[in-house]
Symmetry: C3
Subunit: 399 residues, 3 copies
């Protein structure tokens, strides 16, 4: 990317109408096209600055807080990388070491963490109806604290995966697609197969497939959602995606056949998830601490999953795609047949063929997160980014 | 705060006689009036710098180590915030992941952590007779290491709550009172009711009430300490507070009635704690690993606590205070009746009325901690602070 | 160290032929003499810069990742100190909170962590045949990611203790010896007794004694390795050390008597370890999850260890050394008789006499680690270091 290209990105960024300062990033479908394009433009600039050894440190100090209510490798390190690159220090809120158990309200915790915080990334994806709710309570609380003069600044809440959406993943995926096909405009009419795939585990979140159908329908893609009967996503999100497709002149089709979805696809995204009704049931049982009920549910689900072991991405299925050359995508880690499990989402040959592509897909995430933080915390992001680029501080001491 | 006010704080700071460099901050009553006033002046400058978007980063690099031997949310994040704002990196010592269990002596651990450390914050409040002792061993060890040339610098030990005092809390409380009543001088003669309150848990540390009576008696306040018979604090601390009150022409009264303490009070601080004799007994049982004895003790204590459920801060009691308008304070989290427990320290209506005030009270803590670190690590704090203010580096990249 | 001495170190550094950029630091015997000398020169400069209040921050931002698969205090904090002093942020990979359990491959994890990482420190010392292997897989993976354009930079892998070597320890020990005896040249012909010592625990790694004999034989030392029959080290490492000794005109002798090793020694390093055959057996049992087998092995080993309680470093043994004045060394924590255990590696009087020396020995570690990171991440380390020294940025804000 030459300085000419930086100039064009900055030009684009300045023309976009965004209203992200002092806000959050929770669901992609709450953001305008311009706002999504701003995230993309900033993320691309950051990635290019990093590649060419330049710093985009925009804060002198401040905390970037993470709250992970579920395991994480890549999102955890992507968030850590993003806050560090921007000049913030990561402070992980380990609820086991806090007084949360002590009856502290969520409103209070949110304020107590945030006196010197600029952003708070939250993963809360385990329980349907809970994750997004918690993120909104957190957001409301810091807004209130800011309005009341308790907080000097209003930290943004970044959704690092909720029960509804996984925007840092889907936006990284979108950047990968833009990079792969050359432009956002080139995505128009391209067919993406977001399909269920078999996994020997159960209870996987719905946020990835929901995030993909909710986002890719914004860009005129032909989204084919495929799953075995019963493995429905949250109906509200389906409606959002349908609505998006209508507005963008794209398409959302739901089928119950992997073959059908793969047929002539330009992109495939085979990934396991649990039926949303199972997730609802699981949330209820967890609330009731019904251990026996949970065990029974798991057993039933695994038995049911096992009926669909043929939902596996393999060479034969890939052969159905456009010229047999669809891009294989995954949020990682994938359940790879014969590698991480006996039978899984994808065969080892297909995964290996696209391994580099999936790693490259993941490489966008730190920059997407940094862009979300930047846009929610700087009032004039275009001007500030321009200045950062102009200053051209080296990432490593330049001798 | 205009630059004129910064100037007056700096003027004040330079006139104070302090001897804090290369020392610790363990108990407020070990510090002179001038030293306490220096902490206040620096903390106020830092808070105002932060509010107006200025950086007070004073270190280029170095570690700020935390050792939490008990759960913590706000102190943990306040310490993390303070070290980050000063330019240090937080390194949390998780004893479970260290070789402490491996028979390493405290002296050795203190040195091994401290080669590049500027400050070490320690919370050790669970066991009577242990916390303060551990902090002093740590302090002695790093002093020795520094004297022997093992350490290039002498990290300060900051008490983040011991069995005796909780100075970062009480100093934040003092700053809140100064802010609320306009000046330290205005605190003279103001009545503060530090009272026990009912909580459905047992074994809460004594450090908050001890810290409050030990500090507020320094500023001529009329301190009314109230608790049910038997819920005594450590006798030595009572003596310290009595002595303080005599010197400052303040007052320390001990009563066994919440009503009496609230009568005409300007400030109330209702907060549960365990009798110090129970804490002593608990420490012994823990040392003996007497599980049965501990269970029995807990049962007895909870039964005894339950006799005093009427020790609850409510509207009726608040009505007894000066014009019914006393300031309600709490170190948080409070046990709120009907919110965090069935019956607790305070009713929901009173807590809600003062919620913003308690959050604001907590907001002073990161700056108090930063001030303690700054004063123990910079030889000429007045001159250094003046320079930091003059430089006026922005917290966020200024475009 | 005057600027003249900085100048001479820089001069030396520039004359050394090193090829460490974009590489790792896994085993000292994979490094040339010049490369070991470069680590020493840089570490000495860094330590002196730190002592005189100067910063050697060489990165504007970036992550320094640590993966500890075993407990650690001093290496953990040394690594944290080193990355911070260089300008990186520590990101600890807690495998319990990651998706590693989720079937993710090591190759994938390595890439996913490393998008913005400059270095990765790994401790993996528990299982014979595993630790070094894991570090090499990690290294190969990030090299591949870099070659494939997935990673913008190639983080170095630093061995923070493997089953084979413990180079950050042995290099710190070497720096201590250089400091103590005045120069590397003065080590020639000096006798160092690397001896087994009794400990009431079992399963201690072999990496320290292996690291010592593998490194000190490079500098013409007369290395006397002593252990009770059966407590052999890995044969390959013995061969490496023998070969080193031959090339450096030093000596490696293996004896089964502590007395013999101490005889006329200039340095003694008494330290417990487990026989490598026991470690092999233990690794197998752990793989088979054979709990009963492991318990039995532990019992047998402790019984066997107990036969050698007389392998304790005490005043009488120290009397056998050169003029009775050998330097006592230990990687810490030591098992001190009557302090950390009933009977251990060393008597309290000897340990106390040399306590300051052992702490001083440990104080080199953060600077050794920083030097390894610096040399693997900067292409022209001599020029860059010269510039850092010239710039002379203060560690603390200079007023």
């Amino acid at each position: 990317m030459t300085s000419k290209i930086f100039a064009s990105k900055l030009q684009e960024l300045k023309q976009l109408k965004t209203n992200m300062y002092n806000g959050d990033f929770l669901l992609t479908w709450e953001k305008s096209q311009d706002e999504l394009r701003a995230v993309i433009a900033v993320a691309e600039c950051f990635k290019e600055m990093h590649r060419t050894g330049k710093s985009f440190k925009a804060f002198d100090n401040g905390l970037g807080i993470s709250i992970f209510r579920d395991h994480s490798t890549r999102t955890r390190f992507s968030f850590a990388s993003a806050v560090n690159a921007l000049g913030l220090a990561l402070a992980d809120m380990d609820e086991a070491k806090s007084q949360v158990a002590h009856g502290e309200t969520e409103r209070e915790t949110a304020n107590m963490l945030s006196f010197l915080a600029e952003t708070v990334g939250i993963r809360d994806d385990m329980f349907l109806g809970e994750g997004d709710k918690y993120q909104r309570i957190f957001s409301k609380s810091v807004q209130e604290g800011f309005d009341e003069g308790v907080l000097h600044q209003r930290p943004s809440v970044i959704n690092l995966q909720s029960d509804i959406d996984h925007p840092t993943q889907s936006m990284a995926d979108l950047l990968k697609l833009k990079d792969y096909f050359g432009s956002l405009e080139n995505l128009r009419g391209k067919k993406i197969a977001m399909t269920w795939a078999y996994s020997p585990s159960y209870g996987k979140p719905l946020s990835v497939p929901q995030g993909i159908i909710g986002l890719m329908t914004r860009f005129g893609m032909d989204v084919s959602l495929a799953y075995p009967e019963g493995y429905d996503l949250i109906p509200d999100v389906i409606n959002v995606a349908k609505d998006n497709a209508k507005k963008s002149k794209g398409k959302l089709t739901i089928v119950n056949s992997m073959e059908e979805a793969f047929q002539n696809a330009d992109v495939v995204y085979p990934k396991s998830w649990a039926p949303y009704k199972v997730m609802e049931c699981r949330t209820d049982l967890l609330k009731q601490k019904d251990k026996a009920g949970l065990d029974l549910l798991e057993k039933e689900c695994l038995t049911n999953n096992a009926k669909f072991k043929n939902w596996e991405c393999n060479a034969k299925l890939m052969g159905l795609t456009n010229k047999g050359k669809a891009l294989y995508m995954h949020c990682l880690p994938a359940d790879i047949t014969g590698v991480s499990c006996k039978a899984g989402e994808v065969t080892a040959d297909i995964f290996d063929k696209y391994r580099r592509e999936t790693y490259h897909e993941a490489s966008f995430k730190p920059f997407v997160i940094a862009a979300m933080i930047f846009l929610t915390r700087f009032e004039n992001p275009g001007i500030t980014l321009e200045q950062l680029i102009k200053n051209g501080v080296a990432r490593k001491f330049a001798s």
